[in-house]
Symmetry: C2
Subunit: 696 residues, 2 copies
């Protein structure tokens, strides 16, 4: 990977003297960015671009070229890669489009590219990408014409983007914001190297301190999240392609498939990644991460205007920060600094009619020292004549010093003309926010990352031994009968309502004698997925007489409505009074692996999608947080005078379900619906398990 970002020499393949030749743009950009290595060009016709002679073939190159950059029609790429291999070039960047993202024929070409790469041990970026900008050595490989070196600021933020256009926009916006850029990667189709490879590289890259990721699809979600969770560097992810409409364009764009966005959300949070909702949001988050870490919830807000202070207070409450009270000391010292005694000294502190910006810096410093908050936000506004510009520049310098000396996030939000903002940003090496809500959000993201470290447990290998009932049950694909599914729950200590399987009325009566009444009867049949649709359920059976009648009636109904169904017996189940319904679910996500879901039972919650997701395995805290996250779960704590239900039993059941998913890779889906939660304990009443063994 090092040789992709730091090659000593590059060959651009596909160059020509035609004015619209895209490969020539690459050479132009390498020149513009002062690439420090050797540049070669290969093309069909001899000639020269940007002072580099065009060689007629790869064979004609000198030995020892580190990196091939290919921008030729897709159909030519497999042979070119083959030629690179022969020439001992082991790294390639394939910028050409027209592969899997475009057509089935393109997909086949992509396979041929892979074969050639394997044959010659070539690692490659793309295809369908604009690849790399490395501000450290001037390696600027996008084929976009006329990139401007002077528009780009070198800094310590690196970008990993699926889309080329998006990566260039990040390049521009991070430069505009004064943060600067270290490396940009546009990944394209990710046929060989993918986000995991690039992220691994950037995490170890000394020049990179903050990583902004843009993704339209996440294929190796689990590996990516584990990598991110172990990162010392803050990461933002701008995950797009969340709608049906965009899934279509994303597919034609970079062959991306849509992920379940709720799982993406959960996974990112578990991995300690801040999710960006837009470019502006991503930049604001990166600005927040460029400040010292926010370690807690105490925030001080200082503002030149009460109106801005009110907006800040709204944002503060929405972000879960607290506005700590102003201490008497600070009050006294602030009043002594200012003559403006018509201003109420509260937090937010409204500086109102104080026009001396030097005082602001002193009040900020006093506040940080006296109150020791976790962060401070100063909302500044000025109209931008020379005097105020100079005073504001000094103010920014002082704030930066205070922030660094005291190792505190001092966020500076400025309202003035854009040209003054730009000057501040380019000069300061200190983030300047331009929207109150964005500043508060950035501080909150820093707090979320630093006050609570990511908690994503590694997925352990399959165990040597599992409960002895399990192996046989999971040996065949399909939907398990309810008794088998409940048995699997039992085996993993998810409590179930007592049950037994019978094949006759007499058997049922015997079981009833043991379990006691009331009872439920449920048909067991592999062909019938909705038992109640064929009359295969009877509830509330109170005595032996009723049991006899209902048992016979049930079989008669099923015989009539589903005469061909194979009947594997009847489940006799104890019905338990009371209990609040919850739902536990699990599935094996293609990208993220085992995922656990929790929700309250009943039809409302389905409609309102009031559910929580987590990647398994769960820690106890994860299970607790999932329950707390579901708004309806306050029902478990007892509302309207009800006694609280056994939340601990739900936690245990979630942990048990997590173990089941982790230890049984054959389980593709599991639903425990409902789990009844009592004042003491809980019991699964129904369960559904889909087995789908992975190909080996």
């Amino acid at each position: 990977m090092e040789k992709i970002f730091y090659p000593d020499s590059v060959v651009v393949i596909g160059a020509s003297e035609r004015p619209d030749n895209l490969a020539a743009n690459i050479i132009g950009n390498l020149r513009e960015f002062d690439y420090s290595g050797d540049i070669h060009a290969v093309g069909l016709q001899r000639g020269e671009v940007h002072g580099i002679p065009i060689l007629p073939s790869i064979e004609a190159l000198p030995d020892g070229v580190d990196l091939a950059v290919i921008l030729t029609p897709a159909a030519t790429v497999p042979d070119l890669l083959e030629a690179c291999g022969k020439k001992n070039i082991r790294r390639a960047v394939i910028e050409s489009g027209g592969f899997a993202e475009f057509s089935e024929a393109g997909r086949q070409l992509e396979d041929q590219v892979c074969a050639a790469a394997r044959r010659w041990s070539i690692r490659f970026m793309g295809p369908n990408c604009i690849s790399v900008v490395n501000m450290e050595n001037g390696l600027c490989l996008p084929f976009a014409p006329r990139l401007q070196r002077q528009a780009v600021k070198r800094g310590n933020v690196s970008v990993l983007a699926q889309s080329g256009g998006v990566s260039i926009t990040y390049l521009l916006m991070l430069s505009e914001a004064g943060l600067g850029v270290n490396k940009i990667v546009s990944m394209g189709n990710k046929t060989d190297l993918d986000e995991v490879d690039y992220l691994t590289f950037l995490l170890d890259d000394p020049g990179t301190e903050i990583i902004c990721v843009h993704l339209e699809s996440i294929e190796e979600g689990r590996r990516l999240m584990e990598l991110a969770a172990s990162s010392q560097k803050p990461i933002t992810v701008h995950k797009t392609n969340t709608s049906q409409a965009s899934a279509q364009i994303a597919f034609s764009h970079t062959a991306a498939l849509a992920n379940d966005d709720r799982i993406v959300d959960a996974a990112l949070r578990q991995a300690g990644i801040a999710r960006a909702a837009s470019f502006d949001d991503a930049v604001a988050l990166a600005q927040g991460f460029a400040l010292p870490p926010v370690q807690g919830n105490d925030l001080v807000v200082i503002s030149r205007s009460g109106g801005h202070a009110v907006m800040a207070a709204d944002a503060v409450e929405a972000s879960g920060f607290c506005l700590a009270p102003i201490s008497d000391d600070l009050l006294t010292s602030t009043r002594s600094l200012s003559r403006a005694d018509v201003i109420a000294l509260t937090n937010p502190l409204d500086l109102g009619t104080i026009f001396d910006f030097e005082l602001y810096a002193r009040i900020v410093e006093e506040s940080v020292r006296a109150l020791d908050p976790d962060a401070l936000l100063l909302v500044h506004a000025y109209h931008g004549d020379n005097f105020e510009n100079e005073m504001s520049r000094r103010l920014a310098c002082r704030l930066r010093e205070v922030s660094r000396e005291l190792d505190k996030s001092v966020a500076f939000c400025v309202f003035t003309q854009s040209e003054h903002i730009k000057v501040l940003r380019q000069e300061m090496n200190y983030p300047i926010f331009t929207e109150i809500e964005a500043a508060v959000r950035a501080l909150a993201a820093s707090r979320d990352r630093h006050a609570r470290p990511p908690r994503l447990l590694p997925l352990p290998p399959p165990p040597d031994q599992r409960p002895h009932e399990v192996d046989g049950v999971l040996a065949r694909d399909g939907v398990l009968n309810t008794d088998i599914a409940l048995g699997l729950c039992d085996a993993y200590d998810i409590p179930t309502a007592e049950w037994a399987v019978v094949d006759s009325v007499d058997g049922a009566l015997v079981v009833a004698g043991v379990l006691g009444y009331p009872l439920a009867l449920k048909l067991l049949s592999p062909e019938v997925s909705h038992k109640s649709d064929v009359g295969g359920v009877a509830l509330g059976i109170g005595d032996p007489e009723m049991l006899r009648a209902e048992f016979t009636a049930l079989l008669a109904r099923v015989e009539e409505r589903a005469p061909d169904a194979q009947i594997d017996g009847v489940l006799v189940q104890r019905m338990l009074p009371g209990g609040r319904e919850v739902i536990l679910g699990g599935k094996r996500d293609e990208s993220f692996g085992p995922v656990v879901m929790f929700g309250m039972g009943g039809v409302y919650v389905e409609l309102l999608e009031d559910v929580a997701f987590r990647l398994a395995p769960l820690a106890r805290e994860d299970a607790e947080e999932m329950i707390a996250e579901v708004r309806g779960s306050r029902l478990l704590h007892g509302v309207r005078g009800e006694p609280p239900a056994d939340v601990e039993a739900v936690v245990e059941a979630l942990l048990a379900l997590s173990r089941l998913l982790v230890e049984c890779p054959e389980v593709a889906e599991v639903d425990v619906n409902p789990l009844l939660v009592f004042e003491q304990g809980a019991a699964a009443v129904d369960a559904r398990v889909v087995v789908k063994r992975q190909k080996t």
Copy 2:
């Protein structure tokens, strides 16, 4: 009001030669903005500020001054206003702070100010404000120092802000955005003139085409909403002060009180107002309103990059737009324009490797002509060398022409360096968006305003005649007994479960003979607000024997648990099987008047706050939309195989409740909880009514 915005002469009271004198800043700003009228100054010490001599008293002024601008300590203001009155000055702007927003003594001063104003028929702005900027005549009255005329662009957007600092930020941001400003009003404490007065003025003001409102409190919500609903000019409202923390600062800031934010939301939508969430959002909304109206949901998105297109598609889906398919004609003509045949021609249209910006304009024009969408979004990105700047400027010109010629919103979103954006914005008189999500949101706000006109029915005067039962019932303040409350519902055609009041078992048996079983018994007592707490409820009474027993037991329980309670009888109510629970509510909001609420019944919905609000009176469509807005209401349409419930009966009940609230101003609160909805019809089972007659 005209004379406040267009005075021929102004006196600034409180001026001095001291360098930190704030009133002097006002004179400086009038000079900077080339105010076209006469300027006078009054102060304690003679002298001169910005070339204007300081007169020692108001009496010393020439006759016929139109407007007094007062910036002196609060305690001096009542006498100064008195002096203005004597001098025949009938308009004042009081910028001083230290009134009701600051202390109780300040509140008393404010009362004295009002008294003086009444005595002399003076209308005034403020106090505690920075008042007015009028770009048409250079009337620039804020006391902020050094406002820069060159930083402000004159345009057709006017701003009505509660906060002075906020109004200045709007001045700056609207100018930055190239929209320009016509008038700015900072209202302060709104002691005399308030948002309704200013809005009335701006709605008739020829220079104002778009109105941006900032409010921390809405005191006369109803009048403001009725005014806005009748407006031909688009209005945005940036309502802050939504959190507990901000309510405190807002109070000290401009004496604002918090409104119920859910009611604010509903009211703004009914009035056709777009709610802004931040400065950036307000500016984006105003930009959208500066384009031709969006009349429907069909949107075409064209982008230079697939990555941007995906983001746009995400935003499009979230905003309820549709991406209409590209027609074959357009496909053919676009392909013929470009050689880039590896680009899939879909909507969003990804221009990919086309680098000729002139083609973009042609493709946009072709798209608008061929597809006739309701709006088009072009996402442009460039790196900003001279060539691309010039080409982009031409592109913007062409888009503006296409937009105007074809009377279609063509939204132009540009990613490039801020200085190039600024140039485009200042030159073009055409909105340039800088974030995809903001552009789509702005188009959506235009659609919401123009595709569906505001529907806010006027509040009629109290009727001459009401149902004859009503007047007696509402003659006394307090909580009505359940039977009276149900009777009120009956009188307004909200259906109720059949019931009667009895005072003995024998009476109950007679009623039961008429109503039939099963029945419920409910204690009627003014002292007991929660009947079930004292055992005052019995349900599921199935026969006369049970009725006897339960009636006696109920009275015994109440005798024991609430021995002193006055018992007004027992309600015997028919219990109806089945039915889905919904809740209807109504209240008289201090600011917005009668408000109707709808939600699904049950404990979940309370937890999840899945409810809808509307200002009464409701139109039938309002009631229907309220029901649709509540996510859980899909239950009424039948889920899990249930038959649909009688939604029409709910609509009728909501309309009836709306009538009740409108015709009975004495009703402060009403809850119909639950209303049971059956396959045919509905019935209120319980109702609670709070009477609070308004002071006359």
